[in-house]
């Protein structure tokens, strides 16, 4: 028997019980896979996705204004490509980095597959297909350009580059909602993936500083700050998100003078933010606890003030340690946006349910759900992988000052 077969045998069929288990699992997996593939290829009607693709993507956003969203997507794609390329062309101070490591080639291959094959497979309108191909090309091109010419950028330019992202966010807000000469599009017309991404990114960006503040307050020596943080965190963590969203929709109007209330979408986005901040605070808190007291002592004895110590010594270390937990929170946040469908907002899941209620597409629930599940799974898995890559770059192996090598 070849070594491979021998290994298979010892791994899978060591005892009769093991053998039975292995056979059972193999049978189960094959049956499920075959059944799924056969259903996907033959019985499933994917027309329901194709016919509603715009609805899924942007909800009821006015057709003639959608070019603004394409512009935004293009900006985001370019920025992503350039950031990716710059990161690769500037490896960490003590390491040599490859410009196109194996992971990058894998990811590029995957993106090519998704960006090029998917629009064709879904039989989208040719105009749409072309735009997706252009976007994929834009990503690849900007990545290559940044990788190739990134080292030629001067240092001040490099430091300023991260500002591009908040800038794009602001531009994006204007593009989406209007103003500054663009026709206003009310939030009630935002929907689908656009709304999901918007609320998720809003909550992720804002819950971060709030969560850090809460974590610092939680660990403060000042009793008032500590108790305020504790009460806030425990109050939020005790309540199911749906009750808080519900509260936001109903009571928020009463908390403001004259019963004036911001649009439902913003109410929900703020609730998500305050909700996520409490959980993020716990993740950051464990990061803060992992920073040895000696670090603060060293910084203070060098003459650094308390804010300087926090910003330059404590937080950089604490956030590195808390990074996996924080990204876990962000992934949860992305998934929690689906709850907005329960308060009547048409984000991705809400749109899906509307589509399924449409008599023209009766009985095609499974196709829709599978697509949605795949979409969420990919986004969350991608976030998880990105976090692991970030961890690698900030390698914790070097993060121990009192460890010594012989």
């Amino acid at each position: 028997m070849t070594p491979l077969l021998r290994r298979l045998r010892s791994d899978l069929f060591a005892t009769p019980a093991d053998g039975a288990l292995s056979l059972g699992l193999i049978a189960l997996i094959t049956a499920a896979a075959v059944g799924l593939l056969r259903w996907a290829a033959q019985k499933a009607q994917w027309a329901v996705i194709q016919a509603n693709s715009t609805l899924f993507a942007v909800g009821r956003y006015p057709q003639d204004q959608q070019w603004r969203l394409w512009l935004l997507t293009a900006l985001l794609t370019a920025a992503t490509g350039i950031t990716w390329g710059l990161l690769r062309s500037h490896p960490r101070a003590d390491r040599d980095g490859l410009l196109w490591p194996r992971n990058d080639r894998l990811v590029l291959g995957l993106l090519a597959a998704v960006g090029l094959w998917l629009p064709w497979a879904l039989r989208l309108a040719p105009a749409l297909q072309t735009r997706w191909w252009l976007l994929a090309a834009l990503l690849a091109a900007s990545r290559w350009l940044a990788g190739r010419f990134g080292t030629q950028l001067s240092r001040p330019m490099l430091r300023l580059f991260p500002l591009v992202w908040p800038l794009i966010y602001l531009i994006g807000m204007v593009l989406i909602s209007g103003g500054l000469g663009l026709m206003p599009v009310s939030p009630s017309q935002w929907g689908g993936l656009l709304l999901t991404m918007l609320t998720a990114s809003f909550a992720i960006l804002l819950c971060f500083p709030l969560g850090v503040l809460l974590a610092l307050g939680r660990r403060s020596d000042l009793p008032l700050l500590r108790w305020t943080s504790v009460i806030y965190i425990e109050f939020i963590r005790g309540a199911p998100l749906i009750t808080l969203l519900f509260l936001g929709q109903n009571i928020l109007g009463f908390l403001l003078p004259g019963g004036l209330a911001p649009d439902r979408i913003w109410r929900a986005a703020w609730v998500l933010t305050f909700f996520a901040a409490a959980y993020l605070a716990e993740a950051v808190r464990s990061g803060l606890a992992s920073v040895p007291k000696g670090q603060v002592e060293a910084a203070r004895s060098l003459g650094l003030s308390y804010p300087q110590t926090l910003a330059r010594v404590v937080l950089p270390q604490a956030l590195r340690v808390a990074l996996p937990a924080m990204v876990g929170q962000f992934i949860s946040l992305l998934q929690d946006t689906t709850l907005l469908s329960l308060i009547g907002l048409l984000e991705l899941l809400g749109v899906a349910r509307t589509v399924m209620a449409n008599p023209a597409f009766l009985g095609h629930n499974a196709e829709v759900y599978l697509t949605l599940a795949l979409l969420f799974w990919s986004c969350c898995a991608a976030l998880g992988l990105g976090s692991r890559a970030l961890e690698q770059r900030l390698d914790p192996q070097t993060l121990s000052s009192s460890s010594s090598r012989p």
């Binding site: 060591a14 699992l25 992934i331 998934q335 689906t338």
Partner: protein, 335 residues
């Protein structure tokens, strides 16, 4: 120069804004002021707005007839009964769901967690795939999948799925059990309608499937982390003593792993209790669902919200108390 002279003078009293002892009080004072102003503002508006609508805090409406039915409940309830009874019925349903979910998820999670350490790479891979898939798909999506795609597509009547003692139909899950008079009876088809001693509605079954499978994946990770925290030497020692894989797990590894597992379980259990509120999406009338209906009918947002919050906070507290007790029991006494 008077300034530097002051620095050298040992009896020098620093100005209050530079005094190390004053600053903590100053900071707290400012924060307290800001908080008080904020709370006064919000509360003031709340009271004003509610009063102009005549909706200020009152509990009398709880006694009025509800005007809606709850079909599935341990506490009998119909439209003419008061609101408080409806809310109680909802709470009973929530407790039923949470308890079942806790037991089911713990079982599934523990099995899956242990399976991650199996010698069989197929089993390990299968478990890994389970955890990674479930964790990255939103719970609400999974619940809706179970309800709309799986359970509502089940056949009914004679075409229902049947195995001895269990019948799975669109109208519910029927289990054999002890009926009236302690007779052991099997599910039976009577006039085209299934009957059995133990019937679970499809809504409940969907909710349970989703919750158990979802929490099971997270609990599997907790268990896996706990088992991984036990030093490898323990496994080796047990094997050298002649213990098999399962025996090692049960008598040597798991008891030590519990120290790490129990706190993690606390978080997951509370999470499950809160996730039960998504029952509204599958049509199971739990506490939140009844509360939502109540609020829509009475407009009593503040009171309903206080009740909801109180109930869930109480549930969290009970779970934490029990788990903390368990935690103390499980911690290994050290010298």
């Amino acid at each position: 120069m008077p300034e530097s002279q002051a620095l050298l003078d040992p009896a020098h009293r620093p100005p209050w804004w530079r005094d190390r002892r004053v600053i903590p009080w100053l900071v707290q004072g400012v924060v307290a002021l800001v908080l008080l102003v904020l709370i006064a503002f919000l509360l003031g508006n709340l009271i004003h707005n509610l009063t102009t609508r005549g909706m200020l805090l009152s509990w009398r409406w709880l006694g009025e007839p509800a005007g809606f039915d709850i079909s599935e409940t341990a506490v009998p309830f119909s439209a003419e009964m008061p609101y408080w009874r409806g809310l109680a019925a909802g709470l009973a349903n929530t407790l039923r769901a949470v308890l079942t979910g806790l037991v089911g998820a713990t079982l599934l999670g523990t099995l899956a967690g242990m399976a991650s350490f199996s010698r069989n790479p197929l089993l390990r891979g299968f478990t890994r795939a389970y955890v990674e898939t479930i964790r990255n798909i939103p719970l609400l999506l999974q619940l809706i999948f179970w309800y709309f795609v799986v359970f509502l597509s089940l056949p009914n009547g004679t075409a229902a799925l049947q195995i001895p003692g269990v019948v799975l139909a669109k109208s519910g899950l029927y289990l054999a059990g002890f009926g009236q008079g302690l007779h052991w009876s099997l599910p039976q088809l009577v006039n085209g309608v299934w009957q059995a001693p133990l019937r679970l509605s499809v809504e409940f079954a969907a909710l349970m499937s989703g919750l158990i499978i979802y929490s099971g994946a997270f609990i599997a990770e907790v268990v896996r982390g706990g088992i991984a925290s036990v030093p490898k030497g323990q496994w080796e020692a047990a094997t050298s003593l002649g213990m098999g894989w399962f025996a090692t797990l049960r008598h040597v590894v798991l008891p030590q792993a519990l120290r790490v597992i129990v706190p993690g379980l606390n978080t997951q259990y509370i999470s499950l209790a809160k996730n039960s509120s998504l029952a509204v999406a599958v049509g199971f009338t739990d506490l939140y669902s009844v509360a939502e209906t109540t609020l829509n009918q009475t407009g009593r947002a503040l009171e309903v919200y206080l009740l909801l919050l109180g109930a869930y906070l109480a549930m969290d507290l009970v779970i934490s108390l029990v788990m903390n007790g368990l935690n103390r029991f499980v911690q290994i006494r050290e010298r």
